[in-house]
């Protein structure tokens, strides 16, 4: 803390919030000028977790980069995997079989629920409601057990490949998901009972951090933040990918654009995601999850590799550095609806095994640009309401 100047109103404090602070939920710093409880100005500093993912991508093949996308939004790694693989598939000009697409929808909706649970839980915890965090994490833990079962890892899932998935679902997996889906709405109801009519929670989120419709366009906001302000903008509905057009769901839209509406939109999105999960499980088609291995893009089955020489050669041809199918020379932009907003990948390919340039459009980074405007003239205690409701994930912010 540094004393800046003295006047009759009292002293103006320069206060540094973070980079290591429990309420930032990540490594980011905010330098504030305070006049008592009032915030005069904020200056967010980011980049503490910058790891150079975009530079790394230029030295990795398309399948290798999937592992890096796990580390971006570490609350919903499966959404990142799916987003990148869809972008790469658009570049290669392929579409995976229906079963694979449906499993991707299933996984991205489950990870959306897991992301929203943490987002709501931590936001509520910062505002004093510890129970919500614990209830949320209890359900998230069950989800992570399911992810571990299907993908082999809790966080570093790396589940997708260009042209399909790492593996099909385990045999009993759909039943286990259904079992989880049946008991989950109780938790949503519990959270709503705890928060919706909670005086403290209402006081700290009503009319806090109000974002107007015009600001949504001016600041390129997407995801729940944009929808809470009344902009009906959802990539799943507007530009359907991975068979989202097959499913019935509503896009919740708020009216006031404040922190409370962002919370309500996230809660309703979880209900809609549950609906999608049920539809996927009811209509899960049979068949392969990967495109035909004869395309020389995906690996042949392990039984074939271990027992036949043709299978082994095939495996070798796909994985070795100087072999395999090469992408066309070109550029694509592909946006998907990740839990935080539009996660886009802009890929330029020069026809080599490695992409020439991969640009990640990080929803957290762009949603965070409005933070300075929200905080100017607000109260000091609003900072956690705003940070929590924007859901800033440092891994994705800095890449």
């Amino acid at each position: 803390m540094v004393r800046v100047e003295n006047d009759l109103q009292g002293e103006i404090l320069e206060l540094s919030f973070g980079p290591q602070h429990p309420a930032t939920h990540g490594t980011l710093q905010i330098v504030m000028e305070l006049d008592g409880e009032k915030v005069l100005n904020v200056e967010p500093h980011i980049g503490f977790l910058h790891t150079g993912f975009e530079k790394l991508a230029e030295h990795m093949s398309y399948n290798q980069f999937v592992t890096v996308t796990d580390r971006m939004n570490y609350l919903s790694p499966l959404s990142n995997n799916i987003g990148f693989s869809l972008a790469a598939e658009k570049l290669f000009g392929i579409e995976i079989p229906k079963r694979g697409q449906y499993i991707r929808v299933l996984m991205s909706e489950l990870s959306r629920i897991a992301d929203h649970l943490v987002s709501i839980g931590t936001a509520a915890m910062d505002l004093g409601a510890m129970t919500v965090f614990l209830y949320g994490f209890r359900e998230r833990e069950k989800l992570y057990d399911l992810f571990e079962w299907a993908t082999g890892a809790r966080l570093t899932t790396s589940y997708t490949r260009v042209g399909g998935l790492m593996a099909d679902l385990p045999e009993d997996f759909p039943d286990a998901v259904l079992k989880w889906v049946k008991q989950f709405p109780k938790t949503i109801d519990e959270i709503e009972k705890l928060l919706n009519h909670n005086r403290i929670f209402q006081d700290r989120t009503y009319n806090i951090g109000v974002i107007s419709k015009e600001d949504v366009i001016k600041y390129s906001l997407t995801g729940p933040v944009a929808r809470a302000s009344g902009i009906n903008y959802d990539m799943r509905k507007d530009l359907p990918y991975s068979s989202y057009e097959d499913f019935e769901f509503e896009v919740p839209v708020g009216e006031n654009g404040d922190a409370f509406d962002r919370y309500l939109v996230r809660m309703e999105e979880m209900r809609q995601s549950l609906g999608i999960v049920k539809q996927v499980l009811a209509n899960l088609p049979d068949g392969d999850v990967n495109i035909d291995p004869d395309s020389k893009l995906t690996l042949p089955g392990k039984d074939e590799v271990y027992t036949t020489i043709e299978g082994l050669i095939h495996h070798f041809e796909v994985t070795m550095e100087n072999r395999g199918i090469l992408p066309p020379v070109g550029e694509i932009y592909m946006g998907t609806e990740s839990p935080n907003g539009e996660l886009g990948f802009y890929i330029v390919s020069n026809g080599k095994r490695e992409p020439y340039r991969v640009r990640i459009r990080p929803p957290s980074f762009i949603n965070y640009t409005i933070f300075k405007k929200l905080m100017k003239g607000a109260m000091f205690s609003d900072i956690v309401s705003n940070l929590g409701s924007l859901n800033i994930i440092a891994g994705e912010l800095d890449r």
């Binding site: 980049g47 150079g52 001016k218 802009y346 640009r359 762009i366």
Partner: protein, 167 residues
């Protein structure tokens, strides 16, 4: 080529550049001098209405066949029809381009990132300084001539010595 790229070509015939030669959905290459006029046309013209700046980034075309080395990429979206338009603005000479942070405030940080990683200057930007890399960093790491493992920055880290042996 779609109707939108055709429209831009008709409206700004002198600004259009040919290449780079590759597959693309809906993209057009332009000179960077009048980028504000072109973006304004895309944003406000009744037949275009690309009012949402989805993304702003840059590409270093050093190893590809293209009109110039550096290009700023604007990914625009029409919120009603959800069509996407990609503009590539190539810079000749001084590697400078007008800022769009007055129109889209989100571009303020996106342009800072492009300056940080590519070294493209944005004329009229309110606060053009590094955002992801440290303030005292030299070089622009996403340029193609910047090596993956850096230019020896790791070797110059200060090594702290213990003052005394552990007892």
């Amino acid at each position: 080529m779609s109707e939108f790229t055709e429209k831009i070509k008709l409206k700004f015939p002198d600004e259009i550049l040919e290449g780079p030669e590759f597959d693309s959905e809906d993209a057009v290459s332009v000179k960077s001098d009048k980028i504000l006029d072109i973006l304004d046309y895309c944003r406000t013209d009744a037949g275009m209405r690309f009012e949402f700046l989805t993304d702003l980034t840059a590409v270093d075309f050093l190893e590809l066949d293209s009109p110039e080395r550096l290009a700023v990429i604007y990914v625009l979206r029409n919120m009603a029809s959800m069509e996407t338009l990609i503009l590539r603005a190539f810079m000749f000479g001084d590697e400078e381009i007008d800022t769009v942070s007055e129109i889209w405030h989100s571009a303020e940080w996106l342009e800072r990132e492009v300056w940080d990683l590519f070294g493209i200057k944005f004329k009229g930007h309110p606060n053009l300084k590094r955002i992801l890399m440290p303030d005292d960093y030299e070089g622009h790491p996403l340029r193609k001539d910047y090596p993956l493992k850096g230019r020896g920055e790791r070797d110059s880290f200060k090594i702290i010595q213990r003052e005394r042996e552990r007892y």
